[in-house]
């Protein structure tokens, strides 16, 4: 009697551990969130991807719709090519704009998809034509200084 009580308690304990692990897998972690082969692929080319990393989220209107699967440099055009994996339940029109933006002031960078108005939808393996590169702070400052300098030299003449 006593032994079976112990057995039951240990059984409950182990079951609780399994429940916690399942909770970790489904609710806390992203084991089932289409990180495998699910979803269709798109490609987007950028002049500069900034701090975008592989596995970065792709969001549309703030909702995660996919993940960046791979990033590489096109040796011929010197453009960064990002392979995107989009959840099959979402479709985007062919004139969708892909932009690299930062969440919050210091947050990590993600890819934002702004759907357009075209009635044709992007299919597996197709390319997003309209892209907007990441904002690079140094370039912005450089441009600002250059404009300032141009302004002041214009004043002297």
């Amino acid at each position: 009697m006593n032994r079976s009580k112990t057995n039951v308690a240990v059984g409950v304990f182990v079951a609780l551990g399994i429940v916690a692990l399942v909770f970790m897998a489904l609710k806390v972690g992203n084991l089932v969130s289409f990180d495998s082969a699910e979803g269709y692929r798109l490609e987007a080319r950028f002049d500069n991807i900034g701090g975008l990393r592989v596995r970065a989220p792709i969001k549309s209107a703030g909702v995660v719709v996919g993940r960046v699967e791979a990033i590489h440099l096109d040796g011929a055009t010197y453009e960064a090519v990002a392979q995107l994996r989009i959840h099959p339940e979402y479709r985007f029109s062919t004139d969708t704009i892909a932009a690299i933006v930062t969440s919050g002031l210091l947050g990590e960078q993600y890819l934002s998809l702004d759907a357009g108005g075209d009635s044709l939808y992007l299919k597996d393996g197709e390319r997003i034509i309209k892209t907007q590169s990441a904002m690079v702070l140094e370039k912005l400052i450089g441009q600002f200084l250059y404009n300032k300098a141009a302004e002041s030299s214009g004043d002297k003449k």
Binding site: V10, F13, G17, M24, K27, V28, V64
Partner: protein
């Protein structure tokens, strides 16, 4: 001067002798682990003793650690306007670090010390010697099941601790402070990777289980057979376990998470 050197030498030798003894003992325990696995009923008893009985302290501590993390994390995150990231902050800290480490520290205090005291008293009351006389191997009858019990219990407790912490953070962050529940869960899910974070955390807990289990049984088995000996062995279990858990955690963290980004 010579006196001082002599004492230093004696101290070093005693530390080395103890380390050697521990290594030999660990070897014996590992070698007889297979025999311990066969004794299922004993193993169940030990998992009950060190695992099930630790459940209450682990659940309550996890809940409160999660709640505190939520309050403190919110205070800092809202300054940067990213209070939504609370979910991922709490989950990552719990799954990667606090879950395994705090569980191991609590486990050393709650169950490890009890195991040491139990085995130490068996030694002091000559029960171990009596077993030897009856041709029952005290290592595979007494030591190995307790070691395996700790090894099996700690990872389970660590996962339960992390889950309780996440639920605690949810209660405070979402229900009390009022962060959006969707943002809380989705931020969490977006940043916690099952293999990278959850399984690595679980692996840490397994390593801590081996460490705390071995130290507990070693200190008990080699305790001086007096009331004082058992008491100092119990203290040593908690101190050495805690220090090795923290040291191991640093080493494991560097191996697992450095060079990730």
């Amino acid at each position: 001067m010579l006196d001082l050197l002599e004492r230093l030498g004696a101290f070093t030798l005693s530390v080395l002798a103890r380390l050697g003894l521990a290594t030999l003992f660990f070897g014996t325990v590992f070698a007889r682990t297979a025999q311990g696995v066969k004794r299922g009923a004993l193993l169940v008893r030990e998992v009950h003793f060190s695992g099930v009985r630790s459940l209450a302290i682990i659940l309550v501590s996890g809940l409160f650690v999660g709640m505190v993390l939520a309050v403190q994390g919110y205070e800092v995150l809202q300054r940067f306007g990213s209070a939504d990231a609370l979910g991922s902050l709490v989950a990552l800290s719990l799954v990667r670090e606090l879950g395994p480490v705090v569980t191991a520290l609590l486990f050393a205090g709650r169950a490890g010390s009890a195991v040491t005291a139990e085995i130490g008293l068996m030694r002091a009351t000559e029960q171990l010697a009596a077993m030897d006389m009856m041709a029952v191997d005290p290592i595979s009858r007494v030591v190995v099941p307790r070691f395996l019990g700790a090894l099996a219990s700690l990872p389970i407790l660590a996962v339960i601790f992390s889950s309780a912490g996440v639920i605690g953070a949810y209660l405070v962050g979402v229900e009390l402070i009022g962060i959006d529940a969707g943002a809380f869960w989705s931020q969490m899910r977006a940043s916690v990777d099952f293999r990278l974070d959850v399984l690595n955390g679980l692996f840490k807990a397994v390593v801590f289980g081996v460490a705390v289990g071995l130290i507990s049984v070693f200190e008990g088995y080699h305790a001086a057979p007096t009331a004082e000996g058992v008491s100092s062995a119990t203290t040593r279990t908690v101190v050495i376990s805690s220090l090795s858990v923290l040291t191991l955690d640093f080493i494991l963290t560097v191996l697992m998470f450095r060079g990730l980004n």
